[in-house]
Structure formats: structure tokens, C-alpha cells
């Protein structure tokens, strides 16, 4: 089994973390540690979530009213702050996702093009 350090990890681009948080919360309320874990697992450990950066991001999203927070109890009976996606946040997610897809497609096209040109050259 490969150790973690050897894996080729990608640092998160500014702004992408917000989108990922919103996406994770579609599945239901979750606390901070759970969100970080979920991102990591769902990206098959490629995306590294800096836990220190996660909380300011949550704070930001909360102040924009895209997510709401409430203290609750975790599955293993620990006290934790749970975040839920608001209707406003859901709309935001839909729009952001659309933009991301567009951007990703465009990027892929250009990068492929470059590859072709390089090969030809």
C-alpha cells in the first residue's frame, strides 16, 4: 500500500473549497471534520483539505447565508457544530457547478490542443 506522502495530491484552488463544501452538504447536515473527511474520501484522497482553512471557509459561507449551522451530537455521541445547505446555498451550488463544468471543458480542450501541437512540433 502506498503511503500518503507518495500520493500525488493537489492543493485546492481558492474558491473551489467553497464549492466542494456546498456539494458535500447536499447529502445532508455535516460537521466540519466530517466535511473534510468526505471531500478527501470522495476525491479518492487526491484533494487535500487544509483543516485550518476549512473553518474560515465555513464561516464565510455562513455569513453569506449559503449554509446554516447548529450545535448537535455526532454519530459517535460527540458534541459538534452541524452545517446544513440553505435554499440560497443550493441555488449558488447549481450556478457554480455549471460554471465549473464550462471552465473545466474549456481548459481540457486547450490543454489537449497544446499536447497535439507539441507532438506535431
Amino acid at each position: 500500500m502506498l503511503s500518503r506522502e507518495e500520493k500525488n495530491r493537489v492543493a485546492l484552488l481558492q474558491g473551489t473549497l467553497d464549492l466542494l463544501i456546498l456539494r458535500i452538504l447536499v447529502f445532508g447536515p455535516q460537521h466540519g471534520q466530517g466535511i473534510a473527511r468526505a471531500i478527501q474520501l470522495n476525491s479518492e484522497d487526491v484533494l487535500l483539505v487544509d483543516h485550518g482553512a476549512l473553518y474560515p471557509a465555513l464561516q464565510r459561507l455562513e455569513s453569506q447565508a449559503w449554509i446554516a449551522a447548529e450545535w448537535g451530537v455526532s454519530s459517535n455521541n460527540r458534541k459538534a457544530r452541524f452545517y446544513t445547505l440553505t435554499a440560497k446555498g443550493r441555488r449558488r451550488l447549481v450556478r457554480e457547478t455549471g460554471q465549473w463544468r464550462k471552465l473545466a471543458t474549456a481548459m481540457a480542450r486547450i490543454l489537449d490542443l497544446e499536447k497535439l501541437e507539441v507532438l506535431e512540433g
Binding site: 466540519g32 483543516h51 473553518y55 460527540r78 457544530r81
Partner: protein, 903 residues
């Protein structure tokens, strides 16, 4: 909608996170200890996370600003030499600019201190002084006769009130009835009864003049200015209602004007008394012009009705003007009649009153504003340089903070905070400088005035200006160093103490080049203005200035009748020439360069009338030309044979002869003034050398005090009578003699104790006072130029010294390898010379460009004068070299061993 979440709540969430994470890691098989550390590592520094949370609150910027301010103040306190230098430099720059702005504000921007000045409108575009003869005026009607004023006042409903007042002003001999004091000269102004109600001015004590006071037959009333009440009568309440003797007539002081009110015109000497127009005949006597429709002597200002359109009022007044002129068509001569159709008038905003000062001072205030702006730029460059050095010294600290995670924005903000704090402190100190400066400038600019209506203490607009300039300055000198501050590599902090790169020296050098260029502009401007002043003062005036004194008198004040004047002047002559040391004495209507003169139309016997037939005239007593030293180049001057009964004679000057007699011999030819019928009145007996009496090359004619012409027009006769009241006595003294004021006053008292000497001054002082504006402009520009030079030299010194400091090792190494002291000095000097040369290269075109702005102020010197430009360049280079030589010599004395050990 935003509500703050308590910090404790956030900390709790983080603790919960750690708990969950440790639990998960343990589940993955890590030990308690490993899991604890791994979880903490993943979360990063809890403190940072907490801080970031805290910072997301919107009040953070304020907290940061306060933090930065506190930190800056602490740092500034730690480096008092830097702080004091910067603040003083800034205070000079901001102070200079602010004091000039105080003048600009007072002279060019401010409205009169009256109610709603925006509703006021004044007659005329241009400002005309004193008295204009005739029913027509050239260009426009800007002053009017009393009859025309009443026409406008009673038939222009667009004005709520239309007031009239003296365009000239009068001096009266005033004495308080109770008490035995002698009459003293005071300035008086005739105003219409509605003058104060039109301005919305209430009395400070007593009551204001009203329409009731301005009626024929009303008991004579007068209003005193607050300044006179305070300075001469110590705010004595018994003055109100008391009887004052004005030119021998009893007037009751009915009230005092409020403190800030200085009348309708901003000028160096404002009225002491306001008198109803209706009392003019009582005070002026035979010279009264109130009843003369063809003597315009009143300015008009009116308050328009709310909603009235000024242009409509102007159109209506033009119609009224035409009607009025046509009603006098019968009394006009043919050429004036032909001009009737062209007669027009303009209504202009009058909130600033009669703005004669604006016309006189506008251009030179703009020059001074520009000059002080340049000084401010130089100051900015200097302080920016200081800040850059400071930034360099703090590099280590800055790179360390950045290595520890400080964000670049924060570093920039801190640097900017420092420059803003410095500039605001400098601005506050600058206000003190400005206050002192302004008083000094006012003293020089209005030295003739007893009291200037311009307040030197800073007003709200001035304070705002100073604040704005401080902020602007702070931003200007702060941005570059702030930006430079962030351009440090955090790695540098870890390296050795001395950076090998000469980073940041380019902007510093650029600043020195800018300073040198601006200094050159100021130095050559001051050179040009100083040369102008010298040319003006040393040109040929056509009369002697040395050993000549001018005593100004006004026999009207002592109640003299026209028939008594000839005898009075003869007795004064005898009494004054009896003083030991007095060589000669003569009386003259207006002495040369006294700032006043009369002019009239000239008709030559046997010649058609010239299109422009105006000449200036002066009336003199016998012996005048000899006393003042004005040479007679042909014929003779007045003598005792010219009496009231003999042939009326005149002396003309060269310009007069050239203009009216065109190459013919003027001696024995005849001419007259004012009326074509009098063309044979005077016989020319002599030609005097052109003298600069009022301005350049004016045709002048001189008449004798002993002779009086008889005109057909009563107004002309009144003027003829008035011209016999000679205002100035000229005395010349023998070389080496000094004549004291008291001797002169005693000589006057021996003739008539009631005849006051209004002023006494030397003719050279009188001439010089005409150039007080030019002198002030030249002196201030020179002062600013000097300041620029000093600052520029300090700047160059700073850059050179810094270069030497940072190259100590290199220099030591060079010397260890055999370089001589001379070559080290040359090397350092070369750098400085290149900077100054760049400054000159930028400065010379800039100087040539900006001297265009000076062109109208120059006299007898070209704005491209190569000598002055060269002197300015030398004046710049010489101190600059000295400033560079000091650190260069210091560099050459570096001991190689010490330098190398320092590494």
C-alpha cells in the same frame, strides 16, 4: 443581518473537530499520542485559525488601523531625528502652500461678509475708479451719476434694493466735538440710504443709516466702522449719539458697523466712516458733483428679487440707460452724440463686491501658488527619500515579518499609515508656519494700509485645504516607499546583515533628479523676478529721488476756501524753506508715482480734434520743476511773472509735444482742455523731460497754481476749483542734511495749527511702494527658491551618504588593492555629478516652459535670459557639489582594514 459569533463558540467548534479527528485517527490504528499530534498538525496553528476567524469581522480594518497607528507612533518616537526632520520639512512645504492659499481664498474666492451674497449683482464688468466725466463712457457704463442711479433705483423692479456708493472714497478731517483734540484724517465713503439694508448688515451698536438719513435736509448722520471704534475710541459707548466734526460740519454718529464688515471693496485701507450721499454737497462744498448728471462717481450693487432673472434686469437697464442718455442729448457735443447708440452696460455677480484687488493680484497669486506647489513637490521628494532610507534600514525587520507570515497588504498599509501620520503632524505644524507667514506677507503686501481686512488666522476653507494638502502629500511621498517595502525577499532575513545588492537606489536617485529640476525652475524664476524688480527701480524716472521728501496735506480738511489757497502755499513755502537743511520747496496736485492723476481732453488751437485726445495733467506751484529735479529741456518753467492776471500758461512734457504738435516747435502754441471753446486758453512756455509720473510715456501738461481757467460748464468749473487744492508738498534737502519730522510739523503749525500733515515719506519710498507687489513676488520666490535649494542639497547629500555607507566594503577593498584617495573621491563625486546633470537636463526645458507663465510679470529681461539661467544652474550645482563632497571625503578616509573587518 450579520451577527457576531462569539470567539468561544468558534474555539469550541475547533476543539470538537480535534476530538472527532483524534477518534478517527485512533480508529485507523494510530497511538493516542500520534493521533493527537497528527490532528493538530492537520488543523494547523489553532491560534492562526482563531485569528482568521476573528479577522473576518468587518470592524477589523479599524482595529488594524489603530494598531498600525499605535505601532507607527511608537516607531516614530524611537527615531526622533528622522521624525523631527520629516515633520519640519513637511511643515515648511505645507505651511508655504497654505499661507499662499489663505491669500488666494481671501482675495480670489471669498464673498463679502454679508447676507446671501449670491443674490447680489453689480453694475459693470471692469472696475473704474473715482470720477468719469461726460454722458457717454467707452466700452461700458460701470459707474454712474447720482441722477442715473436714481433712475435705475426707481424704475428697475427686478431689484429688491439697489444701493449706490462712492467709487473713489474721500479723506475727511474728523474731530470729536467734545474734547479738544485736533482734526485727524479719516477715510469716508458716501453711501445711499439703503446701503446697509441692501447688504443685510445690522449695526453692532446704535443703528444703521437709512433712507431717512439720505434726504436733503435730514440732520447729518454718520456710521463709524467697528475698527475705528475699537482702535481710536476704545469701544467707548458714549461715541454713539455723539457729535463729530467732519470737515468743519457737525455730524451725529448714529451707529457702528459689525466687526467683520469692511464695506463693499476688499482693499488695503477700508472706510472709517460711512456717510449718506445726500451730505456730499455739505462736505465737498464747491467741488460737489452730486447734482452733475455728466459726472459718474457711484458704483452700484443690488439685491435681486427671488426668482428674478439677472439677464432680464440687465436688458431693462440698458433700455433705461438709452432713455436717460437721450434725455441729455441737447447737452452733449457732436462726437459724444454719435456714440449714444454704442452705450451699454453689464450686470455681473456682485457677491464679492467691487473686485479691484482681484484684477491686481490674480496673476501674481497664481504664480505664488504655483511656486509654493513646486516647493511642496520638492518637500514630498525629500521626505520620500527619507522614508526610503528608513525602509532600507527596516528591510531586515520587514523580511522577517513576511517570513513569519505577514501579508504584503498589511506591510503596505503600515508604511502608508506612517507617511499619513507624518504628513498630518507636518500639516498641523504647517498651519502654525502658515499663520506666521500670512501675517508677514500681509504686512509686506499691504504696507500702506492701516488695517487689512484680510484675516491671517486660518478659516474653515483654509483648514480644509491644509488637511487636504497634508493627505495628498502623505499619499504622494508615502506610496513609493510603501511599495518598495513589500519588495523584500523573506529569505533575506535569514542571510547576513548586509545586503550586497544596491536595491532601491534607482527611485532615490530619480527623486534627487526631480528635486534638482524643480529647484532650477524656482531659482531661475526668482532670478528673473529679482532682475525685473531691479530694472523697474533703476530706470530713469525723469526726476530725482534722492534727498526728496513728500508731505501730503489736504487744505479742504482745514476748511480753506479756493481764494485762500495761493496765499497758504506761499506761506508754507516760506515757513518750510526757513528750516535749516531744506534747499527748496514746491507744492503739486499729485506728486510723481503717488498713484493718482487727473486726465482731460485736449483741444489744440487751429487744429482739428484728435481721435484720442486725452492727456494727463498736474497743477504745480512756482519752483516745482527745480525742486523735484525734472529738467526743462526747452523754454522756461513757471515763474513769479505768471500770475492770475497774466496770460494763462502751461508747461508740457516731451510726449505731449510729440503727440499734439508732431515735430513742430510747441513753444508759443496754444491749447485748452475739456471744452473745444477753450482751445486758446494756455500758451506753451516750456517743454519738460518725460517723467514717469503715473505710468509710461504719458502726454502730460502742467498748469500753474496761480491761474484759474473759466469754463462754460459748471462741472468743469467745479473740477478746476478742486484741482487747486494741491495734495503734496515736495521738499529737497541739501546734501548731508537731515530734516526731522518735528521740524516739519512745527513749520506747518507756524502757518496753521489746524492743517494736519497726513503722511511724510521720502520720494524714494513713495516710488518703491509702487513696486511692493513686484518686490514681494521676487522676495517670496527667492525665499522659496532658497528653500528648494537647501532641500535639494540635503536630498543629494542623503543619497550620496547612503551610497558611501552601503559601499564601505567595496571602497575598503578598492583601497586595499591600491586605489588612491583621489580616485575614491572622484568615483563618489561622479555619481553625484551625474545626478545633478540629469536634474539640469530635465530642469532646463521645464524652466523654459514654465517661464512663459511669468512673461507678463517681467520687465526689461527676456524670459529666456541665458545669464540668469546660467546663474541659476551654477547656484544649483555649487551647493550640490558641496553636499556630495562631504560623504565623498568621508569615503576616502575609510581605513581598508576596518572596512574589510566589518564584513
Amino acid at each position: 443581518m450579520f451577527h457576531r459569533r462569539p470567539q468561544s463558540d468558534f474555539s469550541e467548534e475547533l476543539r470538537a473537530h480535534l476530538g472527532l479527528e483524534i477518534e478517527r485517527l485512533r480508529a485507523e490504528g494510530l497511538s493516542e499520542d500520534e493521533a493527537y499530534h497528527a490532528a493538530h498538525r492537520a488543523l494547523g496553528n489553532l491560534a492562526i485559525a482563531g485569528e482568521r476567524f476573528y479577522e473576518s469581522s468587518r470592524w477589523m480594518w479599524l482595529e488594524h488601523a489603530m494598531q498600525d497607528t499605535r505601532q507607527c507612533l511608537r516607531r516614530l518616537r524611537k527615531t526622533p531625528a528622522f521624525t523631527i526632520t520629516a515633520i519640519l520639512t513637511l511643515a515648511l512645504g505645507i505651511g508655504a502652500t497654505t499661507s499662499i492659499f489663505t491669500l488666494v481664498d481671501a482675495v480670489l474666492l471669498k464673498s463679502l461678509p454679508v447676507a446671501n451674497p449670491s443674490q447680489l449683482y453689480r453694475l459693470g464688468n471692469e472696475v473704474h475708479c473715482c470720477v468719469w466725466g461726460g454722458f457717454t463712457q467707452s466700452d461700458e457704463f460701470s459707474i454712474v451719476s447720482y441722477e442715473l442711479y436714481r433712475q435705475f433705483r426707481d424704475h428697475t423692479p427686478g431689484f429688491e434694493e439697489l444701493a449706490a456708493f462712492d467709487a473713489g472714497g474721500h479723506t475727511f478731517g474728523v474731530r470729536r466735538e467734545r474734547g479738544k483734540s485736533a482734526a485727524e484724517p479719516y477715510l469716508g465713503e458716501f453711501v445711499s440710504g439703503n446701503y446697509f439694508s441692501m447688504f443685510g448688515i445690522r449695526s453692532y451698536a446704535g443703528r444703521v443709516l437709512t433712507a431717512e438719513d439720505d434726504r436733503v435736509g435730514a440732520s447729518p448722520a454718520v456710521m463709524m466702522s467697528y475698527r475705528v471704534w475699537q482702535q481710536k475710541f476704545g469701544l467707548d459707548p458714549s461715541v454713539i449719539g455723539d457729535v463729530f466734526n467732519m470737515n468743519g460740519k457737525a455730524f451725529t454718529v448714529v451707529g457702528v458697523t459689525p466687526p467683520g464688515f469692511f464695506g463693499d471693496t476688499l482693499r488695503s485701507s477700508t472706510p472709517d466712516f460711512f456717510l449718506p450721499i445726500a451730505t456730499e454737497p455739505l462736505l465737498i462744498g464747491e467741488g460737489s458733483i452730486i447734482g452733475q448728471p455728466n459726472r459718474a462717481w457711484l458704483d452700484l450693487i443690488g439685491r435681486i428679487r427671488p426668482g428674478a432673472v439677472p439677464l432680464a434686469i440687465q436688458a431693462q437697464m440698458r433700455v433705461e440707460l438709452q432713455q436717460w442718455i437721450r434725455s441729455h442729448e441737447g447737452e452733449m457735443d457732436a462726437s459724444s452724440r454719435a456714440d449714444i447708440g454704442k452705450q451699454t452696460l453689464y450686470l455681473t455677480p456682485g457677491g464679492a463686491g467691487i473686485t479691484s484687488m482681484r484684477h491686481d493680484y490674480e496673476h501674481w497669486l497664481k504664480i505664488l501658488m504655483m511656486v509654493s506647489g513646486f516647493v511642496l513637490l520638492i518637500v514630498c521628494a525629500n521626505v520620500a527619500n527619507l522614508m526610503l532610507v528608513r525602509g532600507m534600514e527596516r528591510r531586515q525587520q520587514t523580511s522577517l515579518s513576511m517570513a513569519l507570515g505577514a501579508r504584503p497588504m498589511r506591510i503596505v498599509r503600515q508604511a502608508l499609515t506612517e507617511s499619513l501620520i507624518l504628513s498630518l503632524l507636518g500639516g498641523a505644524a504647517g498651519l502654525a508656519v502658515a499663520f506666521a507667514d500670512t501675517r508677514l506677507i500681509l504686512h509686506f503686501a499691504f504696507q500702506t494700509g492701516t488695517a487689512s481686512p484680510i484675516d491671517a488666522s486660518p478659516s474653515l476653507p483654509v483648514l480644509l485645504f491644509a488637511f487636504g494638502v497634508s493627505l495628498f502629500t502623505g499619499a504622494l511621498f508615502g506610496i513609493l516607499p510603501a511599495w518598495m517595502a513589500t519588495r523584500v525577499d523573506p529569505v533575506e532575513a535569514l542571510r547576513g546583515a548586509r545586503a550586497t545588492r544596491q536595491s532601491g537606489s534607482l527611485p532615490r536617485k530619480a527623486l534627487v533628479v526631480v528635486q534638482a529640476a524643480l529647484s532650477l525652475v524656482l531659482l531661475s524664476a526668482s532670478g528673473l523676478l529679482t532682475q525685473t524688480l531691479r530694472n523697474m527701480e533703476h530706470r530713469d524716472f525723469g526726476f530725482e529721488q534722492e534727498r526728496r521728501m513728500i508731505l501730503s496735506v489736504d487744505p479742504v480738511l482745514a476748511g480753506y476756501k479756493p481764494g485762500q489757497l495761493d496765499l497758504l502755499y506761499r506761506r508754507l513755502h516760506d515757513s518750510l524753506t526757513a528750516i535749516p537743511g531744506v534747499a527748496a520747496e514746491a507744492a503739486v496736485l499729485y506728486s510723481p508715482q503717488g498713484g493718482d492723476s487727473w486726465n482731460d481732453m485736449i483741444f489744440i488751437e487751429g487744429r482739428p480734434r484728435l481721435a484720442t485726445n486725452v492727456a494727463w495733467f498736474d497743477r504745480v506751484s512756482t519752483g516745482y520743476f527745480e525742486t523735484i529735479g525734472n529738467r526743462i529741456i526747452k523754454g522756461r518753467s513757471f515763474s513769479e511773472q505768471d500770475t492770475a492776471a497774466s496770460r494763462h500758461v502751461a508747461v508740457v512734457n516731451e510726449s505731449f509735444a510729440k503727440k499734439f504738435f508732431k515735430g513742430e516747435d510747441p513753444i508759443g502754441r496754444h491749447f485748452g482742455n475739456a471744452e473745444p471753446g477753450l482751445a486758446g486758453e494756455y500758451e506753451v512756455i516750456g517743454v519738460a523731460k518725460d517723467g514717469r509720473y503715473f505710468s509710461e510715456n504719458q502726454p502730460f501738461y502742467f498748469l500753474s497754481e496761480s491761474q484759474t481757467a473759466l469754463f462754460s460748464d459748471t462741472a468743469n468749473n467745479a473740477g478746476e476749483v478742486r484741482s487747486h487744492y494741491l495734495h503734496d508738498i515736495v521738499i529737497s534737502t541739501t546734501p548731508g542734511a537731515t530734516v526731522g519730522d518735528q521740524q516739519i510739523r512745527r513749520a506747518f503749525a507756524a502757518v496753521d495749527p489746524n492743517l494736519p500733515v497726513i503722511t511724510m515719506r521720502s520720494l524714494s519710498d513713495q516710488v518703491a511702494s509702487n513696486f511692493s507687489q513686484q518686490r514681494l513676488l521676487a522676495q517670496l520666490t527667492s525665499l522659496f527658491g532658497l528653500l528648494a535649494l537647501v532641500l535639494g542639497s540635503i536630498g543629494l547629500y542623503g543619497v550620496t551618504a547612503y551610497t558611501v555607507g552601503s559601499r564601505t566594503n567595496e571602497i575598503g577593498l578598492r583601497m586595499a588593492l591600491g586605489a588612491g584617495r583621489t580616485s575614491v573621491v572622484t568615483m563618489i563625486l561622479r555619481g553625484a555629478v551625474i545626478l545633478v546633470a540629469c536634474g539640469l537636463a530635465v530642469g532646463i526645458p521645464l524652466t523654459l516652459l514654465s517661464s512663459r507663465f511669468l512673461a507678463s510679470q517681467l520687465f526689461g529681461v527676456s524670459r529666456y535670459d541665458p545669464a540668469i539661467l546660467s546663474i541659476a544652474a551654477l547656484a544649483l550645482v555649487f551647493p550640490a557639489l558641496i553636499a556630495a563632497l562631504i560623504p565623498a571625503l568621508r569615503a576616502s578616509s575609510i581605513s581598508p582594514i576596518v572596512a574589510l573587518r566589518a564584513e
